[in-house]
């Protein structure tokens, strides 16, 4: 299998977009899905419950020092940056906000790019800031695959636009087409 992990970033409009994405993923998907969604709230338990109702895969909060599990959706905890360590396990930091956000998509994408290299898929969905663009660039520089939600299809087009401008993409697609695309890319 060419790809071993999927990282996803979203902001404004992200809860709805994630619901659609996760509902469309194949239950037999073999890669871990790792998500940063800016919410600004104190914890992600509510988000987790909402997404778990729609998702075809189990949804959990990422725990530090544990490795991502295949076929599981991991959400970044509120208030912490989520990183992939050199050993492939999750790590947390409370370093300064990036693009006004903690967790920041750039921080996850950057560290995941360093670990997974060409075996990583990065996905930027709807959002009203520029977080994720530099991270997606790092993924492409290490030959990973970049997917960006088509800006005209996004509730908030700024984040996809910034990603396309700064990183470019291998695929630009409407939200409803993204899950089928990922299922295809990740089928054994």
């Amino acid at each position: 299998m060419k790809y071993t992990a999927l990282v996803v970033g979203c902001s404004t409009g992200g809860v709805h977009a994630l619901g659609t994405l996760l509902a469309g993923l194949a239950p037999e998907l073999q890669v871990p899905v790792i998500v940063v969604c800016h919410t600004g709230s104190e914890d992600v338990e509510m988000l987790r419950e909402v997404l778990a109702l729609k998702s075809s895969l189990p949804v959990v909060e990422a725990s530090e020092r544990y490795p991502p599990q295949p076929g599981t959706v991991h959400l970044a905890p509120a208030g912490y940056h989520l990183l992939i360590e050199a050993d492939g396990c999750f790590a947390l930091s409370v370093d300064a906000r990036v693009c006004f956000s903690r967790p920041a998509i750039d921080v996850l994408f950057d560290s995941a790019a360093a670990h997974y290299g060409a075996q990583l898929i990065g996905l930027v969905l709807t959002g009203a800031n520029e977080d994720g663009a530099l991270g997606l660039k790092a993924i492409r520089e290490r030959r990973g695959l970049a997917i960006v939600q088509a800006p005209e299809d996004a509730v908030a087009p700024e984040m996809p636009q910034a990603a396309l401008r700064i990183a470019g993409a291998d695929h630009t697609a409407a939200l409803t087409d993204i899950a089928p695309l990922i299922n295809r890319l990740c089928s054994p």
Partner: protein
């Protein structure tokens, strides 16, 4: 393989090799040991230091650092992450107030060690908590950090006024009995905490990765510091905490820290798992 391995884990990135060389140089030449730190966040911070100090890359910074001692404080300050809040995660302070202070109240003299005190946000929060519980007079708080720059700031007890509202909300959510403004003076763009809050606080430099037992403590607060340590250093520092606590002493860690890979954690039992408050089992 025909692929030259770029990004597939076969060939290490230049930055990763530079980072290891830097860590070795800093340790051998200046005695600061970051070898036990988790690499992903260490790398991110070091690349920021490279940028903010105007170096071309990490190798040029390392070369300069080997010969120029003056660079070291900036590097340590850049690697330290003095990002905090007063009463961060209010429910934890509420739990300390309700579940830990009543036990500490049975001691005639209370020693508290706050490790990794950043700019002092947490140690002043603790002082207020003790004050309101009527325990401050018999408490001594040792606030330590390995960054001298952070300690200087912590001693000043001055924070941007733009943060005061969030701190006040946290204070009330933590069950504060008055209003936070009772404890500070606002001036221009800043707030300065009441000097009296400092009367039983002792600030000191202590490096968790290198220094030994600091005091005999009834409570150790070390939140969001061990997240920066790889498993083996995390375990080592938990051993240090175990050895620094009195029997039945309390340990409070950050809200999302995991002890599952640290054998030394077996000495502790959870008092309030979601607030990450533990107690040292009484030795037989």
């Amino acid at each position: 393989m025909s692929d030259n391995g770029q990004g597939t884990g076969l060939r290490p990135e230049a930055e990763d090799i530079e980072l290891e060389a830097f860590v070795r140089a800093l340790k051998q030449r200046h005695g600061y040991d970051f070898s036990g730190y988790a690499r992903a966040s260490l790398k991110r911070r070091m690349l920021q230091v490279v940028q903010s100090c105007g170096f071309e890359n990490l190798s040029t910074l390392t070369g300069r650092m080997l010969r120029d001692d003056a660079l070291v404080p900036d590097i340590v300050a850049g690697l330290s992450v003095p990002v905090s809040e007063m009463f961060r995660n209010p429910t934890v302070f509420a739990a300390l107030r309700e579940e830990v202070l009543p036990v500490l109240a049975s001691y005639p003299r209370i020693n508290i060690w706050q490790a990794g005190c950043a700019h002092g946000e947490e140690v002043y929060s603790l002082a207020i908590l003790l004050e309101e519980a009527g325990l401050y007079e018999r408490s001594q708080i040792y606030a330590t950090d390995f960054s001298d720059a952070a300690l200087v700031r912590a001693q000043e007890g001055i924070f941007p006024i733009k943060d005061a509202r969030a701190y006040s909300e946290n204070y009330l959510a933590a069950g504060g009995q008055r209003t936070l403004a009772d404890y500070y003076h606002a001036r221009y763009e800043r707030i300065k905490l009441d000097e009296r809050l400092k009367r039983n606080i002792h600030f000191a430099n202590h490096n968790l990765a290198a220094d030994g037992v600091f005091c005999e403590a009834h409570l150790i607060l070390c939140r969001n510091v061990l997240i920066y340590f790889a498993n083996s250093l995390q375990n080592q520092v938990l051993g240090l905490f175990r050895d620094s606590l009195v029997r039945g002493g309390f340990l409070c860690l950050g809200n999302r820290e995991s002890l599952d890979f640290a054998p030394a954690a077996r000495a502790f039992t959870a008092v309030n798992a979601s607030a990450r408050i533990y107690r040292l089992a009484a030795r037989a």
